[in-house]
């Protein structure tokens, strides 16, 4: 059987998800193929900073202008994914205060509202900020939950008819001469290989797009740059704190949901290592030292975990050395560039500009399909994103929302009306740190392409809190077992989930984090006997 689509999009990161949604909203028949889960690559491994663009204002005005435009769009279409915290760019005594003037001027030129404020005012606005600051600029930064944003795009794409295949890897392009006709896809869960056809295939593979392009017979030069980050166990700050200087290591502290995140570092890594990124002890030390300069409280705040991602940087076409690396959006029509028809690559860019990237890619797809359809993603809210803050949305649904209901609203926005606990059973908490009830877990398992506990974590925050899965993993595995009916798989999955949590914990394995791990060890290995014989 031939499965026919208008467009095949490879890559379930935010770019692929956004492109799938955009194409689906334009009425195309869309197939989205992802070899792991959605948001597993760079999408899920960054700060979650809703850039105002200020960071790029001095060095890259084009990116900065894109950022502020998309910033304002996301605040409207993805309200439940965005926290409009505002941000500070602080100047410390060792920084050059003259840079502030250049910075503000560049921001204003890019359309970013940047306002110099008194350092004392900055301390009032964000009490955790380094009190020795000598300058502060207020900008419209915020935070965005990339998992939620990606999942919402996928969900909306599906609501508009898209087919989504996760744990499905493109193993081969089906080519007819110099035309890409479709892809062969290996379903990692069943081992089956299927063929899918479409007149246009979009490579949205991020850093892995390099290999995909190679498979299609074209060359896209990617330059993997690793960035490491640390997650702290609670919100130390409620306002994004940046250093007002040329972008450097560990100079952004972002409050995201119940935690805050310091990052990043930047190191070139060999392409082959992209699949196995982990923060090194030296990077952890650097992040801590530099981070404490932004907010001294970090020095005595519990670190939940360390992680690393790879930025999908693209070298300019005629710059094989990689010196001239752009962080801007790169759209390659391989027919024009390489003579390969029916294949385009969308890469570069940032989480912030995913929607714009998706729009550009979808426009290119439509041009190829000779379809005239406008992009409506800039004005169409994602599922769950309706006006009103947490409190307003919750009060609109329930007269007196419970804490659990409030927490659900905090994660899924207006969708909470359908996901929230109907009875005491559905209202029981699976994850106590993040207040995730059975109803939300079950709905994610049922409707959000959840195949294992790590997927579940990305959709719901189960296991993302202080205990890193100690209390909730076993409960969630029980729900998975009930849904799938496959207990052996659920048990193996439980082990791999605990292992996945451990991977981010041992690089910061001391203090309460190691104590938490020791406790988890005794509970899972000894009491629950997960390392015992069956």
């Amino acid at each position: 059987m031939r499965a026919e689509f208008d467009v095949i999009i490879i890559g379930g990161g935010i770019t692929g998800a956004g492109t799938a949604r955009d194409c689906a909203l334009r009425g195309l028949r869309v197939l989205l193929v992802e070899r792991h889960d959605i948001a597993t690559g760079a999408t899920g491994r960054n700060h979650g900073l809703l850039h105002s663009g200020a960071r790029y204002a001095v060095t890259d005005r084009e990116s900065a202008a894109e950022c502020i435009k998309e910033n304002m769009i996301l605040k409207n279409i993805a309200r439940h994914c965005v926290d409009d915290t505002s941000g500070l760019f602080i100047t410390l005594p060792e920084d050059d205060l003259d840079y502030q003037a250049v910075f503000v001027k560049s921001c204003l030129a890019a359309g970013i509202k940047a306002e110099v404020i008194d350092p004392k005012e900055a301390i009032r606005m964000e009490p955790s900020v380094n009190p020795s600051l000598i300058g502060a600029v207020k900008v419209p930064d915020g935070s965005v939950d990339p998992f939620r944003l990606c999942a919402s795009n996928v969900l909306d794409a599906k609501l508009h008819g898209a087919k989504v295949l996760v744990y499905s890897e493109v193993t081969e392009f089906i080519k007819d001469g110099d035309t890409v006709r479709g892809v062969k896809v290996l379903d990692h869960r069943t081992g089956e290989v299927s063929e899918y056809y479409a007149p246009v295939t979009v490579n949205a593979g991020g850093i892995w797009g390099h290999r995909l392009a190679g498979m299609a017979g074209v060359n896209v030069g990617m330059f993997p740059a690793k960035g490491s980050l640390l997650i702290f166990a609670h919100r130390v700050n409620n306002v994004v704190i940046n250093r007002c200087r040329k972008p450097a290591n560990a100079d952004i502290l972002v409050p995201g949901d119940t935690v805050c995140i310091i990052g990043t570092t930047s190191t070139r890594v060999p392409y082959e290592e992209c699949d196995n990124m982990a923060a090194t002890p030296a990077e952890v030390d650097l992040l801590l030292t530099e981070g404490a300069k932004l907010a001294p409280g970090l020095a005595h705040t519990r670190i939940l975990r360390a992680y690393a991602g790879v930025r999908p940087l693209v070298s300019a076409d005629n710059d094989p050395s990689g010196r001239n690396i752009s962080r801007g959006i790169v759209l390659l029509d391989h027919e024009e560039r390489d003579g390969v028809k029916g294949f385009i690559t969308i890469t570069g860019g940032k989480l912030m500009t995913y929607r714009l990237m998706a729009q550009m890619a979808s426009d290119a797809v439509c041009r190829k399909l000779r379809i005239n359809a406008d992009c409506i993603t800039a004005r169409t809210p994602l599922p769950g994103s309706r006006p009103g803050g947490l409190e307003k949305v919750a009060r609109k649904i329930w007269e007196v929302p419970t804490t659990v209901q409030k927490a659900v609203v905090g994660r899924v926005g207006t969708r909470a009306a359908t996901l929230s606990p109907e009875d005491d059973y559905a209202g029981s908490l699976v994850c106590e740190c993040e207040e995730v009830p059975v109803s939300e877990v079950d709905a994610a398992i049922e409707r959000m392409d959840v195949h294992n506990l790590v997927d579940l974590r990305r959709r719901t925050r189960v296991g993302m809190g202080t205990c890193q899965g100690e209390l909730c993993a076993c409960r969630a595995a029980g729900r998975m077992a009930q849904a799938s009916g496959c207990t052996a798989k659920a048990r193996a999955d439980l082990k791999s989930f605990i292992n996945e949590r451990w991977k981010g914990m041992y690089p910061v394995g001391w203090g309460d984090t190691l104590r938490e791990s020791a406790y988890t060890q005794w509970v899972y290995s000894e009491v629950l006997g997960l390392n015992g014989k069956i």
Partner: protein, 436 residues
Amino acid sequence: MKFDVILIGGGLSSLVCGIRLQKAGRRCLMVSAGQNALHFSSGAFGLLGSLPDGTAVQYPLEAIPSLPAGHPYAKIGVGKIAEYAAMAPGFFESCGVHLVAAAAAADPVLRSVRNGFRFTATGTMKPAWLAMSEVAFFPTEEALRDSDGVPVESALIVNFAGFLDFNARFIAEGLEKNGIRCRLETVRIDDVERLRKNPSEMRSVNIARVMTREQNWKGFAYQVKELMKGEDMVVLPEVFGLGGELIPQWLSEMIPAKVTYVGTMPPSVCGIRTQMRLKEAFESAGGTFLLGDEVLDPEVEDGRVLCVRTSNLGSMRLVADSYVLASGNLFGNGLTAAPGEFREPVFGLDVDYPQDRSDWYDPDFFAKQNYIGVGVKTDGAFHPYIAGRVVENLYVAGSEVGGCNSLAEGSGAGVAIMTAFKVADGILGRQEPANA
């Protein structure tokens, strides 16, 4: 204030040691900074489940001579371990804690202790030496038998509707692997339904508190009987008997099958009960127990502890002839870990740990983790050192003692009990004629 012995820590090891000493006429003070690891007990005590290289152990005593010299068991010696092991069930019985052991012949001595198997909440088998009376504990790994030795063929697994901390499916799968047909059922009890109105407090211990009411456990037993279709075993979550073993016993009498209990996520009901019993035994023997207090500011001079203080008692000097440190490992804050080192926070004792932090961890969570095996350096009598100098009137017992990875070996409770006995003997031996 003056005592004969001050024990720091209120968990299994400290209590066993304190009870022995108090019963032998020593005036003991026990200081515990909060509750302890018995609260997440598996319901069974391991002596030695496997050797440091991972080889499974059937007869723990037989395996002890092959342990490395620094191992706490090696320091105590197999002869003493055998003696203590024989004594342990009676010791606990006298404290009101009834423990069951896998049957073994008394002779030869090295085979007088045999590992039985505890059936876990994820459907697996873990070797164990002694088990609390109600937990699912079987003499061998292969055959699950009822109390008359007849192999079990079918089991009914009953859970409270919507109780997430007891995973009946995992248990069923494990039993089915052992050839037992399983059926799952749930029951509802009004008082438990009321509890459920709180989204987070449907916990083992809260259910257990509700189930101490007669109407509730009786109602539960009736419902189970109704649900049975001739199964020879009924498996229940271990949430009965917070007040005592009687409720599980009564349930067994009312339900016409072998009734066994499988542990839930923490807290552990039978573990809490055991802790309560041991504490009562210690106090009724005349011991003083300070809960929620922390030992601070010890004075140590010339290799001797002169006194300690606590946060609640402030500047008051607490003086004793001997001191026992049994405040646990990381969980009990008996040890704390900083990026480059492990510390023992009360006395600053010398701690044994790998110098390179990367050796603390294995990337596989379920592999042997070296950080779990970190402990205080001690001599043969479990005296610790400060900067290389032995502290003569201070002893270390339980999981704070270095030299073994009790999680990997399945020796956590065993080390706690054996070091407690050994330290108590050491303290008594010092002050009494050898034959006392």
